[in-house]
Symmetry: C2
Subunit: 421 residues, 2 copies
Amino acid sequence: MGTALLTDLYELTMAQSFLEHGKTGTAVFSIFARTLPDERNFLVAGGLDMLINQLEMFRFTREDIVYLESLAIFSDDFLSYLKEYRFAGTLSAIPEGCIVFQNEPLVQIEGPLPEIQILETLALNCIHFGTLVASKAARIIAVSRGRNVVEFGFRRSHMPDAGIAAARAAYIAGFSGTSNLEAGKRFGIPVVGTMAHSYVMLFTTEEEAFRAYQSSFPDRGLYLIDTYDTLACTETIIRLAREGVPVTGIRIDSGDLADLAVKVRGRFDRAGLPHIKIFVSSNVDEYSIDRWLAGGIPIDSFGVGTHFITSSDAPYLDMVYKLVEYEGGPRFKTSPGKTTFPYRRQVVRHYKDGAMDYDEVIRMEGHEEGGLVEPYLRAGRLVKPLPAVDDIRKRCAQELMSLPERFRTLAKQEYCVRVQQ
Amino acid sequence: MGTALLTDLYELTMAQSFLEHGKTGTAVFSIFARTLPDERNFLVAGGLDMLINQLEMFRFTREDIVYLESLAIFSDDFLSYLKEYRFAGTLSAIPEGCIVFQNEPLVQIEGPLPEIQILETLALNCIHFGTLVASKAARIIAVSRGRNVVEFGFRRSHMPDAGIAAARAAYIAGFSGTSNLEAGKRFGIPVVGTMAHSYVMLFTTEEEAFRAYQSSFPDRGLYLIDTYDTLACTETIIRLAREGVPVTGIRIDSGDLADLAVKVRGRFDRAGLPHIKIFVSSNVDEYSIDRWLAGGIPIDSFGVGTHFITSSDAPYLDMVYKLVEYEGGPRFKTSPGKTTFPYRRQVVRHYKDGAMDYDEVIRMEGHEEGGLVEPYLRAGRLVKPLPAVDDIRKRCAQELMSLPERFRTLAKQEYCVRVQQ
């Protein structure tokens, strides 16, 4: 299967015109966020694995060519060029799991101009979404004060592929697992989940449902208690636990979650069952988590779904793929609010007392080593294996630790990024 | 390729337990929006084609089974059941392109309980996203007063599949085309696009860039004029047009779009070039379109991207997949704010002077015909061919025409939906 039609028409019209007018010199395009949303103090680099995988399949299939021919826009020479197209350029990037800010080049692609112009749409698509969800996930983790957070959003992702990529990003950022089985299979992420309301509704009583579940899965002792009346069901759970049914936790998925958590915790504690964990879900996001934990609400685990997987408070980033260099010379535009900085770039991060202090975005020449930007592809091939998901997760945890504490809150902070002119 | 792991773990744990406890009777699940976002006066049904396509491939592959076995959660009997799984149930739905409201069953799936429990995640995923973007697109069309609107969002969709589905939804709702080539190929949608800033930047002057483009594509006379200075470039365009270069339109992609449109229109008109169309893009959404057109700003075409494709003002819907019937009896839950209505349902729409007046959601029994809900699958097979995209588009246009005018504005309106108890 080819991925080369995952692009906008104008990438191809431009490429044909570049070829016809001898604009085939070496160009560099850079992907970066021009600004951060008000709702983000930092971003986490993501999407690179997806981009590299898609680039490997970036071919115009015979069907694609037939389709393009049918548009009666392109020349025969250009269609022949597309038939032979293979990405054979250079790609450098800031590794996945790194914290990044405005104007920092997440990915830089270098190659003959027409060849890399064509990649714009797909490259931006992958890096934009990967970074969007990794950043949202890290923001949630940043306020979760070590509590357990799991990813439940698959049903409301913008199509299945987004759900799979988001589950991976969540795990990288520090979520402990996902409900998403395809993501579990593909990336080796722990999978979690127990029962929905429909399960409970199928039995005459909640007790009958829980006993049935217990007989099917003796090792899985988490029960959903809000199908009818959460507090009445809490008493049922207490009775079962006292009878020796192993109960590890309960989930509350509706109502005033904080109020119910306090009441349920109180009842369990008074019943001598302090080990039963309280798990909440239903419209949970970093705003509710932060408010609840700041208020001492006794919640042990959060199931985060819709708000994470759609990045609902900031559903897109102001991220672009911009020409910065052509035949060794600078390229930039001066459109209002859309000014770009020319040349290949390196990012140097400065620390103070072990915490990130400020970043410099400098010209790459002479600074290939020692900055955040690393080489990934040369002549279209990987220069080193891509890191394993667990290694990216470790790196992300270290990055979050070295972020100054005020950035790990929901109050807006501006990190200092100095761009060398 | 199988799509059956596009699901949450708990769907499978529930299904195993249902099988073990004899809960294999006929069940009905219904997909509906519990409420509409404040930013939506109506929804447009979408996603059905995707769901039906995915259901056809809903198989647990050998690899999937190996993965599930490795989790050490499931019984051998259940894994054997999954190996043989084929969806063989009944599916009824409100056709794509229809206007729908809260509590109206977009899709109802009937079959043995474990078989249809397993479909929850994928079914919701497809219908939720399809409806989300069709609704956003129709809202944009509703305020565009017949102007031309094209879809430009592919680079910021939540992964490529969402971009393809969204381009289709946009066309159904009335957009005239998309930049997305894969969507063009797959669905026969008109594709549009000309050049980006990078193209203009590659030439010494804008004039040189435009002449080069013109020589490559003599029939495509739309030029991007904001790379450096929009008004200076307007003069260049006027000079070229007077020389006989065919200019059909210009695109402005930065700055104060309304102010520039007025100035550029004025210059073209004074230069005797009233036929040159003004096309604007960059952060365009229904709010800016409505404001500009209400203010008489002379814009002919809108390129809508990010805000459409992420449905940025309402990036998700409160949509659920709920058990409503089991073995012929009602099922409903009473969780606060999550009350559901039991039984299979039909939707009857009432009109007044040719415009939609109110809807009734009644029990299906005895009302199989004459309502919005139609049969699609029986014993897992299509009962009729799915409609062509152009037919869905026509239907959607008719639906928008019969929506009372106050719903075709951005001011919040509540449509009356009476749910029979």
